[in-house]
Amino acid sequence: MPPADLAGAPAGPAARPAPAFAQFPTAWRFALRNQARNRLAGLLLAVFVPAWYLLLAAITGHQPLSFRLFATGQYLAVDSRHLTLISAGLNALTLITGFAVFAAIRRTLAFDRRLVFAGYRHATLIAAKTAATAVVATAVAGYTAAVLLAFWRPGAAGWLAILAAFAVIALTYGALGLLLGVLVKGDLEGFFLIIMGSLIDTFLQNPLGNPIANKPVLQWFPSFGPMQFAVGGAFGHTALWGHLALGLAWTAAFTVTGLAVFQVKTRNRTHPVRITP
């Protein structure tokens, strides 16, 4: 026996006046506003990003490192400080976008359920949230790449490669934040997973003092593709588009899984049946 025939599907007269507020623009605007009001993320951007670059640049010398480009099998001789600045940027981005999206999604989950229950189309709400997440992640990536210039000028093509890699990793961890936001029960679990995931992922890609430097196992981490793309562009003058796409594949995987869980958690538990004439 189905649990209930009907619940609160908003329904009304067949001929109703045009809605005053269209669903997608409304959801998009408020999703962006919700992200933008995260003061902790703003503070992290303003203070943590430059401080993290400064700290990691200060503790890393200019020793030569051997970095393997997996697409070509070639080893690049790179400056350890420059490479570490890329790692620092990737790491800061993963933390900030992961946190920001995780917090924004998690704190509005019950509210979103209420909206869906009130008649918001699921797909519209999801699309608006995803688009807002992508915009925020890309903007944060642009800022982080711009701050990098205060510490290192890699040249236009190299910087653009780093910018693209930053944008992709920001999207990936934004999507991971989305997934964790709908999946984990407490703030602490989510923050722990983002911090540990980010540290392990981004610093294992850097061969500096790393026992598994240049090993194939690195390919199984989300920041592998963006790191390969950034280093290829900044030091090897090659554009490894396949590796950038690999990063986007991680983004897509996290997004699809996260949205599927979101769909399940915000769905109406009953099967609406209107019985009035």
Partner: protein, 234 residues
């Protein structure tokens, strides 16, 4: 006066009996609702019905399952067994305000106007004025007092002028003035044929209700409020 008749708390005909074009006799009709959390059986075959203009109170001790019942009626929680039939639109006011602290009162109105596909915010204007919090409309929900949050919570459930209202402790945190205005609002809704189910701890104003449904041991027992004709609830 308390009657010990278990089961349905209203014996009116089902909504399906309604004539085409005529207002159905019953707007909300729940039958044999059962719900367990693990081994703990919270609801053991609850029946509840409410017709146009009818005001029903669900009372019971803490943990009796009142909110669980209301969530099932609202469709936000799945029952293990039973059916809920509804004629018309539904408004559900959860016990704890479900708001977005980063959005202002006005932004909440616009968000829910989009959800309900409303043509204007006229009803929101009316309700904010009636419940006396229009001056807070530009403030974010996170900065509102507990009472004002509750008023907004209630307004969001009423924004589309639904036919059936499920209100879980709707007046907790309201000051006396707003509490009285709330009852004015309820009187207006009843006069316009809305069916209202309220979960309440306050049993000292029993005569306001057509019917008190006492939830105990997982079942509802009808209790006709003092001073009411026992047939009035039917």
């Amino acid at each position: 006066m308390t009657t010990n008749v278990p089961g349905r708390v209203s014996d009116a005909g089902t909504a399906a009996d309604g004539q085409p074009g005529a207002q159905p006799e019953v707007l909300l009709d729940a039958r044999e609702i059962c719900k367990s959390y693990g081994r703990h059986q919270v609801l053991r075959g609850v029946d509840l019905a409410a017709g146009p203009g009818q005001l029903v109170a669900v009372v019971g001790e803490n943990g009796a399952g009142k909110s669980t019942l209301l969530k099932i009626l609202a469709g936000t929680l799945a029952a293990d067994e039973g059916t809920v039939r509804l004629a018309g639109t539904l408004g559900y006011c959860p016990q704890d305000p479900v708001l977005n602290d980063n959005l202002t009162v006005d932004q909440h109105f616009r968000y829910f106007a989009a959800a309900y596909r409303l043509a204007s915010l006229r009803r929101a204007d009316e309700l904010a004025g009636l419940l006396g919090y229009a001056r807070h409309r530009r403030e974010p929900a996170g900065a509102l007092s507990g009472g004002t949050r509750q008023k907004l919570n209630l307004t969001l459930a009423l924004l589309h002028d639904p036919d059936v209202l499920l209100l879980d402790e709707p007046y907790q945190g309201l000051d006396w003035e707003t509490y009285l205005r709330f009852w004015d609002l309820v009187a207006d809704l009843r006069a316009r044929g809305k069916a209202i189910v309220i979960i309440t701890h306050l049993v000292f104003e029993q005569d306001r209700f057509d019917l008190l449904a006492d939830l105990s041991g997982g079942r509802l027992t009808r209790r006709v409020p003092p001073g009411k004709d026992s047939h009035a609830a039917r």
